[in-house]
Symmetry: C2
Subunit: 247 residues, 2 copies
Amino acid sequence: MTYCLAMRLSEGLVFLSDTRTNAGVDNVGTYRKLFVFHPAPDRTIVLQSAGNLATTQEVLDRIRRDLADPGAAESLGTAQHLFEAALYVGRLSVEVTAAHRPALSAVGADGTSTFLLGGQIGDAPPDILLVYPEGNYIRASDDRPFLQIGEAKYGKFLLELATRNELGIDDAAKVALASMVSTAQANLSVGPPYDLGTYRPGEHLVRHARMVPGSDHLERVEAIWARHLHAAVRELPLVERSETSLW
Amino acid sequence: MTYCLAMRLSEGLVFLSDTRTNAGVDNVGTYRKLFVFHPAPDRTIVLQSAGNLATTQEVLDRIRRDLADPGAAESLGTAQHLFEAALYVGRLSVEVTAAHRPALSAVGADGTSTFLLGGQIGDAPPDILLVYPEGNYIRASDDRPFLQIGEAKYGKFLLELATRNELGIDDAAKVALASMVSTAQANLSVGPPYDLGTYRPGEHLVRHARMVPGSDHLERVEAIWARHLHAAVRELPLVERSETSLW
């Protein structure tokens, strides 16, 4: 599986993706799931993917082919709004999935993919959108300005607790990383390296980092996270219990 | 939905259940999901339930009817081992589900339930088992001595991190509670009151507590938990990023 998340804050956008893929437990690989497109000076678009790896790769190949084709009717370079870019990616995703559905259904496989699309086009504010396998999309909510795809449940508690519009990008990146580490702790199908990208309005560049397993940085993160969780548990008040044989 | 968990430690057993039920978002109720049976001096059996509420209640009614019937071929009072009690509960669950399947399938509803069964019979060591809707069961693993039913993903990271055989019962109850609070934070279908039960080998009584929403205790738990998570995030090292427009 996969875990990708994106945040939309007043300071800008934060993207974090793991890189683990698996087709069954005996075929585990490492693939990037965070991609940056800068097809024109007025736009920066980040795409994150979860789901069928073949579908994801073909969608990305079609996106790049359309970008390279000056005659393409539609591309990430022609969209005038982020929601148009989301609908475009959704349409490609639906097409690719439909093309392979008969063969995949025959072996019981699901060929769908889900995407997070974020960034900025022109002077419109930066935004993040989730593109469903059916090709439609949603935005993040104003109260909980984050979106997740893949194994979203394991790390959701921390995003709910700590993600607010006014959070700075550096702190938001830490929240995202803690959510990722919690997920990887609970689910073997999510794992490092982790790809982080951040975007500030008007900059049209994505600052990025890859955190690799065993690195000093990631080991510090995991150690600090575990230490605080243990400290929190220790400080919790004792639960007084009554004694009865029946209840 | 529901979140129930059970732990098997060298000191004894810990059980924790939420009480929220929902049939759609407009029909939310509070029902106990943790039940203690003490049908004979040599046995204490705790049952936790997740899934269809009607199935759960009918299974519990049948368990009680069998206990009250001296001629019953099988009951929680006749099982010689915990695994026999688990198979008995599994058989009742399969029977009840099968009886209502035609009517429920017709309206697209799922009538299955999943149970955690724990406790002690005779001199055998205390144990916990998970009873699947199909009537079979599994035990907890020695390395990760806990079981979960219902919305298990949200609070799993902390159990993975902190649940060890050698954890004392009081500390394990805190770990369980932190896992529950994290789950309720991320999922509206899980909520207080929370029912806690603990069991020490040979005691044949379950010490129990109910934690109600808005109580000083639960508010302290939620505040301490949130404070440590925020502190952990603050202490995490900054992620240094490179600057490029493309990546």
